[in-house]
Symmetry: C2
Amino acid sequence: MTNPSATPADSQFPANFHVAVDIVALTIKRGLLQVAVVQRQGPESCISVDGGPARLTARSSHDYALPGGHVHWQSESLKEAAQRELFEETHIEVSLDDLEQIGAYGDPGRDPRPGRTISIAYVAFHPEFSSPFAGSDATNAKFMDVIDLLAEPNKLEFDHRTILRDAITKVRDLMERTPIALKFCQETFTLLELRNVYEVMFHRAYNADRSDAKTQRDAERIRRFDQTQGDSPLKKVIDQFSLLSFNNETRSEQGFASRPKGLASNRQASSEYAVVDKIQKLLTDEFRKPSGDRPVFKNSFDPANFLRKATAIEGFLEPINGRTQIGPSGTGKPAQVYRRGKAKRLDPPLIVERKPSSKPKTR
Amino acid sequence: MTNPSATPADSQFPANFHVAVDIVALTIKRGLLQVAVVQRQGPESCISVDGGPARLTARSSHDYALPGGHVHWQSESLKEAAQRELFEETHIEVSLDDLEQIGAYGDPGRDPRPGRTISIAYVAFHPEFSSPFAGSDATNAKFMDVIDLLAEPNKLEFDHRTILRDAITKVRDLMERTPIALKFCQETFTLLELRNVYEVMFHRAYNADRSDAKTQRDAERIRRFDQTQGDSPLKKVIDQFSLLSFNNETRSEQGFASRPKGLASNRQASSEYAVVDKIQKLLTDEFRKPSGDRPVFKNSFDPANFLRKATAIEGFLEPINGRTQIGPSGTGKPAQVYRRGKAKRLDPPLIVERKPSSKPKTR
DNA sequence: GCAAAAGTGTTTCCCCTACACCCATGG
DNA sequence: CCATGGGTGTAGGGGAAACACTTTTGC
């Protein structure tokens, strides 16, 4: 860095850049990928319409931004700045190891305000960040569904939409080559739980290129359900017991995956629980074989083969002798319980990507 | 970017960062990967010993740095800054499309001098940059063998060694998914030429983890040869005709791959040419089957199958009807000549990586 | 006993590798 | 005719997907 010529660069180029960090805090809630966003104050927002450069426009209530802010000069590393800013704006705490750099975004014009800002983007992929927003002054912060933020029209300020897309790509890469997905499992877990994390993150609804209509409809159904249910008791049940809630505090050790006993014997609650099952499966159904039908969608998430793939990776999963756990429906053969292995790197990588199916050859 | 709070960040955080770009200009010469480096002036250099933080030490004649410098405030994008700095310091011209971002390096302490510098690293992978250094004031710039720079002890200032390693990884990724390797071929080329580019770039001598002794020895032999030959006529022959020189200006259209006629009939020159062949093969020999022996090294560079892989990718290569070209030895069946296809992206990707060979399963 | 879920065994298919062979050229 | 290198045909091995089947639980 810096000019190798004899002239001290400092005098030649006055240092008047703003250096900031942006953080993409990704998590999974009820089978949907969510990201922490903030609503900035002030009469104007910097949003891009139709893919053009971001411009100052009247602030709408639907404008969001990724949490982020300036790096403290001289005192902290970029990663530390990301950690601090994320906490300041959302009260989400992450360790430095949970932050991965996405890249630098620094073209003039990305921020229409005066001055020049260079932003280094980081992604934090983490389950239910502990007591998010609790006791915080970050009243403008909340988690939003990624599928909403990626849909048209653009709701994210600056180039945060691009950053969000890049973050998803980054996390997918990490999940294939590192045990990062285990962060979404408790200390002990079954392969179903692990598989669900992969199924959500690799869902094609989050692909940059095509978000097909069918997936959008599925997501819409879940969202509508969430809204109409509001604060119903059912929603609490979902929060507590659905497979992808993963709130360490509200889930009891062994009761995690089992249908709550109290509810199971209650006819009405049981029917409500069926909705939970439905939600769980909405995003994953298409990956399963239609009952008694021809498989319509090739995938890498076939339970049996996912198990073989995952367990073949040395140091990834460590089976716990004798310990098993019952499935979410409260019936069926208890699943083997695993513990995180020692490997820091998956070798061979757990490749999820479907092969590009060399169809072109046939022509 | 920037603080979403109401307070104008500008007043709160004085903008006194230095924002710089560093450029890894990679090329291939005589079968070796080379990178453009500069020698900075001044009595001290910022070099790291034994993996510790970079410290100011007395400058040695063996200290090098990647070209780079400050981004011009407000006037240029990061990529444009990289393009400009590379030209200013080495007189290498690259187009913006040839630059790919590696990432941001900005921790305090990476540059021991006063102030805080954030550096965005870019990689330019390009053949024989046009008339490098010609008429330039960049007398301190030169190309060096990557294998030397990666060897111990560290010869690169700051964290440039890390950046160089990251650049290689980046280029390898690009070569699997984009037609970037075609930049090292002329407008028309044979598959041998294309394959050679892949063989060099993916040689395990450039792997971050292990640079095995055998490879180091091979490289050492080539280097020693280069030095002892100096400016001999032979070296010119190598520059002009060796497969991996790729200097567009000195190679005549059809004579490129054929042994120069004048030399071929000359006994002494012919024996010299054998050395050229030897150099060409030094790095690639281990990828080929030892004559009449068991293959000792599984690889993805088997000529026949590399051809099939490459030609199966739609829009990558376009065969030119009727046009063929004779091989480097001046004999054998003429090779099919190709032209660059229209595809901007390789689908399916040309995966080079050897499978991790699921040996672990057997235990 | 039956339904449901986990996990295993096994078949099948496809791709990749390896290798033999043929082709085209110069000498 | 031989040496040399390009390209094709094709058999065999390995791995992944698909699917049938077994096991173990709750009701």
